[in-house]
């Protein structure tokens, strides 16, 4: 923009005052208990920022923030102008892959003295910025400087996108603070380390907001490409693969259900993705943001679209078309992103649930699965069932104190999900329920009396305050065909 012209602009065109465009967001949030998944943890409060934007057509303004700020929300409220009054709000749309959320306030009077921010027009790639936030009921502004481009982690999902790091001398940042350039909203802070803020730029959330306004939703994201790769940094591996210099990455594993499945193969060298050359470390060079992980290219598309890929396969370069599928953390053997309440089954005091990111590790058996096979979901193995706890009772004498043990079979049936356990317990073996654990040095088999199970479950549920002994799981995302070869 011409600096002379900028000086002559009337103040109104530079955007509303920060006080009128930023509100304080308070989210009471709660997670599910790890081993008592019918209960929730102690609620706690998260205070962050939201900016006023044009809402859905005909619905007046709304509030934009990051999805991580409304994660596990039990109640959302907002306050403005540093005033003590708080107004209840609700999450209209949270996109965990994009790490963006739109919050609405049903009382239209709330917005009477607020004004939507002006969205930036040019990419945020360099220069000075202003970070604004509510602190002690005052608007606080700090000056920052764009330090460099960076690959931004979506935090609530697995998508990676192009962003920037901003050097700024503010304490406790990373809570969805709006970043302004030339008076227009240019980014949202999604994290902080030291004096650096990780910032999602306008170029990512602008189109997102536009699509949400236009259609009332946002199309699913591709998540991740779904390959493991070996870097090609060394001339020897390049030569062995038939490349004249180190570039591209060697595909070593392709995940079922991913975009790469059925297109890329183990042994391929990925040379280019979406028209961009991939270097030996798995990076692409972006005109605006510099060196970024190739995964960011997926954040410029939605599932259902196709991108070109170039591979070196068996010594010849091939151009392929890759239809993009939604391959998010919810697809994994150990899901990294589940929003549904955890499925569980309490039977005879034994608490079964599915292994996921929230449950985490704790025993060598779980840590091994988490580290070695977290993404390795197949049609035969969708989830891992864990014996999370034993609620001690005379019925389960001999098994008190067991926890964190992955389950292999129940009454001879391989159990993949909590629902499989519930089903298998309908078919006892000769009057007994036989639960085989995955191989471990502690215990391989649990035997329970079948005839008294239901009675014991009811007694234990009453004694330990378990409201319902069973919460069925949500069907995992469709995996499609095996990748083959």
């Amino acid at each position: 923009m011409n600096p002379l012209l900028f000086l002559l602009l009337p103040a109104a065109l530079a955007g509303p005052a920060h006080e009128d465009a930023i509100v304080q967001l308070k989210v009471t949030h709660q997670r599910w208990e790890r081993s008592q998944p019918w209960s929730k943890t102690n609620p706690s409060l998260r205070t962050s920022q939201a900016v006023v934007v044009e809402g859905l057509p005909g619905q007046g303004p709304a509030l934009l923030t990051t999805a991580q700020m409304v994660d596990d929300a039990a109640h959302v409220r907002v306050s403005k102008h540093g005033q003590p009054e708080e107004t209840s709000a609700r999450v209209y749309f949270a996109d965990r892959e994009a790490n963006l959320a739109l919050v609405v306030v049903d009382d239209p009077a709330f917005f009477a003295d607020l004004h939507p921010v002006k969205l930036a027009k040019k990419p945020l790639v360099s220069g000075e910025v202003v970070i604004a936030r509510w602190r002690d009921n005052q608007i606080e502004t700090s000056v920052g400087r764009v330090a460099r481009g960076t690959t931004v982690d979506s935090r609530t999902g697995v998508l990676r996108s192009a962003g920037v790091r901003i050097q700024a001398d503010i304490g406790g940042g990373g809570w969805a603070e709006p970043i302004f350039a030339g008076g227009a909203l240019a980014g949202l802070a999604t994290g902080a380390s030291g004096s650096e803020l990780a910032v999602m730029p306008w170029s990512f959330f602008g189109p997102w907001l536009e699509e949400l306004r236009r259609t009332g939703g946002v199309r699913p994201w591709p998540g991740r490409l779904g390959i493991d790769f070996e870097a090609i940094r060394d001339p020897a591996i390049a030569g062995w693969l038939g490349l004249d210099s180190p570039h591209g990455v060697l595909v070593t594993r392709v995940a079922q259900g991913s975009s790469a499945c059925g297109v890329l193969r183990r042994g391929d060298v990925l040379l280019a993705l979406d028209g961009q050359a991939v270097d030996g470390g798995g990076n692409i060079r972006d005109a605006d943001f510099g060196l970024l992980e190739y995964e960011v290219l997926l954040s410029r598309h939605h599932a259902g679209e196709s991108v070109p890929v170039r591979v070196l396969r068996e010594g010849t370069e091939q151009d392929l078309t890759m239809p993009l599928r939604s391959y998010t953390g919810a697809s994994w053997l150990v899901p990294s992103d589940r929003t549904d309440p955890p499925a569980y089954l309490m039977a005879g005091g034994l608490v079964f649930r599915e292994l996921d990111d929230d449950y985490g590790g704790g025993s060598p058996e779980l840590d091994i699965i988490n580290q070695l096979w977290r993404e390795a979901q197949t049609a035969d193995e969708r989830r891992v069932v864990v014996l999370a706890d034993v609620l001690a009772d005379p019925y389960n004498l001999g098994y008190h104190g067991l926890d964190d043990l992955p389950v292999a079979t129940v009454n001879g049936v391989v159990v993949d999900r909590v629902g499989d356990v519930a089903e298998a317990l309908q078919h006892p073996e000769g009057g007994f329920h036989v639960i085989r654990l995955r191989p471990n040095p502690t215990l391989m088999e649990i035997v329970l009396d079948a005839a008294t199970l239901d009675e014991a479950t009811a007694r234990i549920a009453a004694a330990y305050g378990v409201p319902a002994p069973y919460r069925p799981e949500v069907e995992p995302p469709d995996l499609g065909e095996a990748c083959g070869e």
């Binding site: 870097a231 940094r233 060394d234 060598p364 004498l397 001999g398 007994f432 471990n440 088999e445 035997v447």
Partner: protein, 483 residues
């Protein structure tokens, strides 16, 4: 209790008359039979497996037994390069040598190199098994001074305890509140004038918690080495599950009042494999009735069933009664020393260095270096892979320990502590496989594929061969392999 009185009497009665002849202190005359051992040991550092290690000097105790030998702890004389004996009232050091060593039970026999050093010394009498609460005393050379020290206490517990030295092997042991400090190791624990055990370790984080090796274990060791060779304590290498759960007992077909433990896993390398089977209920072992928690009655209390095995030597068959598929049958279960590795001593690490990549076998000593926290693939390979294939003893694994950075390897994707799967397409189960796969290859590249992480490392064969001697020299690696 009378020991304390006897010690106190000469002072208590001073001045009284007529003075009776002072009674002999309980341990008088035994002091000379307790010796101090000074061991210069050298233990390799498994992180730098070609280095012979730093020499260390350690002190312990030992005592003369019938047969002219000194009994002590294995850890007192482990990895020895030089061993010296000093007597109670003799200022001269005497060179000594190891006759036999049992690292699993932490016992060893040594003797002076010269003849006649122990002439005139009285061997200590070996006694029986003490009872809970019995008074005991120790003799030895703990830290805090140069000469012999004696401490007293009672027998506070009898249990099956893992030995620190072996890194896990568990045997019958006795706990005492008599002070046992560094240097006491290998010294006798006496009840009256008879030896009831050999002091061997203390619980570092507890007070007044020393342990000694009781006579059944000592006698087992002495019988074992009588033929000049040490066979070691036998073990079953079986995982047992407790059967406190009534439903588990009922399903196995156990009758009211019948007790035992369930076989969950039999290591395929154990001689018990095929004799004992998963799902068997072990009812008795050597005639001892096992309870549902795997204990039996012994010394008026309960002990873990491992203590039954301490009665046998490797190669014996242990009588067992099992319940299998509803049928009770008597078996003879062959036993041998454990196939689960214990910590090794007097050994040198095995490794192969190739162009700066250091490969080692996946063994206990290396696991102690690698650790288990951040390396779950190595842990799985070491501790869980066999459990997943219970029917056959699986071949070994080779691990990349580290990279010695050099031009030829600095940009390859070799991460430490990863499990080698194939080299040039050949499966690798031992260092010999690795050497053969590298030597036989005439192609342009050496290709290393790693398990779990799916890493591929490629080296130019001629460049690697040229860099190899330079890397050895730069990092002072000699020799480049020890198979």
């Amino acid at each position: 209790m009378h020991i304390a009185i006897l010690f106190a009497l000469p002072w208590a009665l001073a001045g009284a008359e007529p003075a009776p002849p002072p009674p002999e202190p309980a341990l008088r005359g035994l002091e000379r039979s307790v010796v101090r051992l000074t061991n210069t040991s050298q233990r390799p550092d498994w992180r730098i497996p070609w280095n012979p290690g730093r020499p260390r000097v350690g002190q312990g105790s030992g005592f003369l037994i019938e047969g002219g030998r000194i009994l002590t702890n294995a850890h007192v004389v482990a990895d020895s390069k030089d061993l010296v004996i000093q007597l109670h009232d003799d200022a001269d050091p005497h060179p000594a040598r190891i006759v036999a060593v049992g690292h699993d039970c932490d016992l060893a026999l040594v003797e002076p190199v010269e003849q006649g050093v122990l002439d005139g010394l009285v061997p200590l009498d070996l006694g029986g098994f003490p009872a809970l609460g019995d008074e005991v005393s120790t003799l030895g050379y703990p830290v805090g001074g140069r000469w012999l020290s004696s401490t007293r206490g009672t027998v506070s517990r009898i249990d099956v305890i893992s030995s620190v030295h072996s890194g896990g092997s568990a045997h019958l042991a006795v706990q005492t509140d008599a002070a046992i400090n560094p240097g006491n190791s290998g010294g006798p624990v006496l009840a009256g004038r008879r030896v009831v055990g050999v002091a061997f370790q203390a619980a570092a984080d507890l007070e007044n918690t020393g342990y000694f090796i009781p006579m059944p274990i000592v006698r087992h060791f002495l019988e074992d080495v009588a033929d000049g060779e040490y066979g070691g304590f036998p073990r079953l290498d079986v995982f047992f599950a407790d059967l406190d759960a009534p439903a588990a007992r009922a399903r196995a077909g156990m009758e009211q009042g019948e007790t035992g433990v369930r076989v969950d896993f039999v290591h395929p390398g154990s001689p018990a494999h095929g004799v004992l089977r998963p799902e068997d209920i072990l009812l008795t072992l050597d005639g001892e009735i096992l309870t549902n928690d795997g204990t039996f009655r012994s010394y008026d209390q309960r002990l873990q069933l491992e203590a039954i095995l301490d009665r046998f030597q490797a190669g014996d068959a242990v009588p067992a009664r099992v319940l299998r598929a509803g049928e009770r049958m008597d078996l003879a279960v062959p036993v041998s020393s454990s196939v689960f590795e214990s910590r090794t001593y007097e050994t040198t690490p095995r490794y192969v260095v190739y162009a700066g990549l250091v490969f080692v076998p996946l063994e206990r000593s290396y696991m102690e270096v690698i650790g288990v926290s951040g390396n779950r693939d190595v842990l799985w390979e070491y501790a869980y892979r066999q459990l997943s294939s219970p029917d056959v003893a699986l071949p070994g694994r080779v691990v990349l320990l580290r990279r010695l950075d050099a031009e030829v390897n600095a940009t390859v994707g070799a991460a430490p502590y990863t499990v080698l799967d194939r080299v040039n397409g050949q499966p690798i189960t031992c260092l010999e496989d690795l050497v053969a796969a590298l030597d036989e290859n005439q192609g342009r590249y050496q290709v290393f594929e790693f398990a779990h992480v799916d890493t591929v490392v490629v080296l130019d064969r001629e460049a690697a061969a040229a860099a190899h001697p330079r890397i050895l020299e730069r990092y002072a690696v000699t020799p480049d392999r020890r198979l």
